[in-house]
């Protein structure tokens, strides 16, 4: 069921997927288990992909996804419509937990020595059971294109920070860049990503 948008909640543009998410969240606040399963089915596969990209270990990625969605189940009121979309909120919770884990274990030192293809190949053997992802192939294409369009130095900083879980200081240390340069490239990259994604949407 699609929700009727609550005009009191900021939503930049009419976004059917976001409206659906907010409706699921509204039902979840009333304890609706099917609504939870709906959100889980829509976003758990991407959430796991994100967690796996950061922590590089499947069992840890699954723990992170479980922990994040348990937090959603416990406290759906934690979502604040003024701070972004539901999917961004969900991915933010997953990302925060994944980054927190790798920083605690400082495994990025080890992971930096591993090639990404090898790491991903190692984790490629998953359970046969599948939750059907929403897929979002179009979204995936758009976001990948937006990343590709970034100047290489900005894309590199964003990739290290978001997908490798490195902090600004760790990136500065690893690359030899001044901290101020890391900050400015991050901001410029995020602005450009935003502009590109908005341009595609409109």
């Amino acid at each position: 069921m699609l929700a009727v948008l609550d005009r009191s909640e900021p939503l930049g543009m009419v976004d059917v997927a976001e409206a659906h998410d907010r409706e699921l969240l509204r039902r979840l606040r009333n304890g609706d288990e099917d609504a939870f399963r709906g959100l889980f089915g829509r976003y758990a596969p991407t959430a796991k992909a994100l967690a796996l990209r950061v922590v590089r270990r499947s069992h840890l990625a699954e723990e992170i996804v479980q922990e994040a969605f348990l937090a959603v189940w416990r406290n759906p009121e934690g979502y604040d419509g003024e701070r972004g979309s539901v999917r961004s909120w969900l991915m933010g919770m997953v990302h925060h937990r994944a980054v927190d884990l790798v920083r605690r274990e400082e495994s990025y030192r080890r992971r930096a020595e591993e090639s990404i293809p090898a790491a991903m190949e190692q984790e490629a053997d998953h359970a046969d059971d599948v939750v059907e992802a929403l897929g979002r192939p179009e979204e995936r294409r758009i976001v990948r294109a937006a990343l590709e369009e970034l100047p290489a130095e900005q894309r590199d900083v964003l990739t290290k920070m978001y997908f490798d879980g490195l902090s600004q200081s760790q990136i500065a240390e690893a690359t030899g860049l001044p901290l101020g340069t890391v900050k400015s490239r991050t901001l410029l990259g995020m602005r450009r990503m935003r502009a590109t994604l908005e341009g595609v949407r409109s």
Binding site: R37, A49, W73, V99, E105, A127, R194
Partner: protein
Amino acid sequence: MSTRDHALIEELMALEVLDGLDGPDVQILERERAMHGDCAECRRIESELRDTAGRMAFSLDPERVDPAMADRIIALGREEDEELPPALPPRDEFAERQRSRGRGVVAALAIAAALILLVGAFAVFFQRQNGSKVLAQASGSQQVVHFTSPTGSSGELAMAYTPGQPGVFFWGSDLPDPGDGKAYELWMIDGNQAVSGGCLEPADGSLAAFVDADLGSATSMAVTTEPAACPASPSTEPVLTATLTV
């Protein structure tokens, strides 16, 4: 609406939404937020940055997820609802059984490390390097469990233990000050019963402590803010909880 320049807060928020903010900039962002107050422009900036960061995840190919996980989460959430009513239950027989073992908090890193070596049950070590904290875990029977906050408060707390053996190592960082005359008290939860695991007082938000406690049949842990005298029964709602796995 704030009339302050938004350049700095935007720069710091961009780092924060990517979980890349660290060092003194964390406090600078907090200060900026406080100085901007209820600022519509700040909310707009943050919302846009969070959306942009969140969408980056969708550049990845989805991963397969066990469809039963959703039901497991629901079951876990339901269990926790039953186990952690607004006010934690008082101690009773379970508490009495555990009392002799459950209150030996030693809040000193060196002592904790020594105890870990003595007990020999943990392959967990804690170290500081260039200001960063590291909690590493060896394989084997040891379990490392991370607490989460039902209230969304900041701070991290983790515990390591070997199922069936006494002794639990706690490690925390960025924990809020519990307040003057207050401490964090650990509770081991078994059904409707809670037994104190002792009190912890973080130093500058950090703590490392070994508790000579037997988790017994406890299925979850909770942390409440209590008077530093460390009462026998919880008097506030939990600020951190964790589910134990056997």
